[in-house]
Amino acid sequence: MSEMWINMGPQHPMTHGLWNLRVKIDGEQVLDVDPEMGYLHRGIEKISEDRHYNEVITLMDRCCYVAGMSWEHLYVLAAEQALHVEPPERAEYIRVMSDEFQRIGSHVMWYAAFVQDIGLMTPFLYGMRDRDLVLDLFQSYTGARMTYEYMRVGGVRNDLPPGFIGEARKVCDWLIDRFVEYDQLCLNSDIFHKRCDGLGVMNAQACIDHGITGPMLRSAGVRRDLRKDRPYSAYDRLEFDVAHAEAGDVTARYLVRMEEMRQSVRIIRQSLDWLEHHPGPVLAQELPRWLGAPYAPVGREGYLLKRNYPKGLGFSAIEEPHGEALAYVVNEGSEHPYRVKFRSPVFANVSAARQYLVGYRVADIPPIMGSVDVCVGEVDR
């Protein structure tokens, strides 16, 4: 009868960042939605064109503030292909281990934020506590808790410190027990099921049509995981299962993410076993000549262009905690990338909001959007 548009955002507890969800409502019923992004645009792709290949890595951490390591991995994979560099095998295992720890950190952070959207405060505190262990592990070998700047084109910055592997194993054991606790807190709760079951349903075909990837796609029954389908780094040498569900609703996304964390622990344990017995270099010895030291941009102009460095294109796709992220790096033979392009999974997931929000109630929007796992830093870049 009386339809109206309301703004949820850009400053709203539901948005988890700066973006605006315009909702057309009739009473409690959602008739139409219109997600608006772009409030956090920093021009990272353009800034990258003016930076040294390794300096772009500092920007990648700012792309997604809960999954910085995955974005570093995405960029260095593309840059290595563009620069024709091969990382040593030990560096690949360290990267895989870091990726999986990052996945746990990101999913636990998602869990904490999601249950708070539903209105549960206790699991939020548990989630933040356990995420801190992952951050502490990152800090022990990268030197920073959120902006790691750890991976380099051609490997990683430094080797694992002594005693790290033992600590990482203890953290894995601790986390596995906590995942059981998370399920006890949420799945055993009638309130959780009343709030989440049957909400935001997307079927497999709609997910594929709208480019939705990651846990949202797998919760709809599509067993697609780039770690299996297009293995990068050391994933083809590790054993794990692809978590998937059929229902496609909010509860299914919760379950898929919980199972993914358990699989991540499985991958981490295997890579820790490998890393324990295979010492070696972590940075490639044969780098492009100018990649080692930061050179003074002085003297004869365009000295790098004058000499014919090999050109190249780099493309990489990895399974980020939020979905499939893609990177494209063009090397035109200079010390800066000519063009850098990223594909953010969350952008596609959020853009399809009309498909999974229309028809539900206004009070259902926070749980549904919470289950998408929005990270605005990578949507806008």
Partner: protein, 259 residues
């Protein structure tokens, strides 16, 4: 494809027990946290305190953190002015352009000695400067407290960074190896006038001016007016800072591969 179907685990029930059961889990956690708290009393208990550090950690069952590998932390820089060679590499490698080279006492009258001054309002603590430092004099410490009341206090002069060094905090032990096939500095001999500028300004003194035989003038041709010396660069001492290239008046030095 192998897969882990997860849906059987969710069993919604309508019993009143299913409301009370999560509370039991929370109560168990509450009792556990009375014995082993998950937080620390920050200004009084610090993670970098060695006594405290041994007490916490996953090993002791306390969910606080992995306290005892803390030395890797990238915090406020420490600068040892005595070993700084004024090579500018930290300033060149900084992605945020927060490092300025400022004059410090200690140089000879002809060349001022310059050391980094860091603006912590811009610094992102990425550690590229300490990775690039060839002498290891600019390192990062575990100091993480940096609250000031004025913006100007965020700019740390070399003397202030030296004070951090003198406090002997744990240093970041990581040193990044340089790749084996770095570019070297090459000379285009016909352009050189032997002016000695490169050898004079080289921070590592790896350039020596050697005599070269004087070219005899052919009839009807003019020989370039020059001092008959040429720079010879010792690649093993060279830190690849490029100072010589920037001071060369004839642009006869350039980056390249030595054959």
């Amino acid at each position: 494809m192998a897969g882990a179907q997860v849906e059987e685990k969710a069993k919604p029930s309508r019993s009143i027990l299913w409301v009370a059961r999560p509370m039991l889990t929370a109560a168990r956690q509450f009792g556990r946290s009375l014995l082993r708290p998950s937080t620390i009393v920050y200004p009084f208990e610090r993670l970098e305190d060695p006594q405290f550090r041994d007490r916490v950690g996953v090993g002791s069952g306390m969910p606080i953190g992995v306290g005892h590998i803390w030395d890797n932390y990238r915090g406020v820089h420490a600068l040892n002015i005595a070993t700084c060679i004024s090579c500018n590499l930290c300033a060149f490698s900084c992605p945020d352009l927060c490092i300025d080279m400022v004059t410090v006492p200690g140089g000879d009258p002809k060349h001022a000695k310059k050391s980094p001054q860091i603006d912590y309002g811009k610094c992102s603590y990425c550690g590229f400067c300490s990775d690039a430092c060839p002498e290891g004099c600019l390192t990062m410490t575990t100091r993480y407290e940096l609250s000031v009341t004025k913006r100007a206090e965020m700019i740390f002069s070399p003397q202030k960074l030296q004070e951090v060094f003198d406090r002997k905090l744990p240093m970041n032990p990581v040193r990044v190896e340089r790749p084996a096939n770095e570019d070297a500095i090459l000379l285009e001999p016909p352009l050189c006038i032997g002016c000695n500028a490169c050898a004079r300004d080289c921070p590592t003194n790896c350039i020596t001016m050697l005599d070269i035989p004087k070219v005899e003038a052919k009839p009807g041709e003019k020989v370039a007016k020059r001092i008959w010396k040429e720079p010879v660069i010792n690649d093993s001492d060279c830190v690849r800072c490029g100072t010589c290239i920037s001071v060369c008046p004839k642009e006869c030095l350039f980056w390249g591969t030595r054959t």
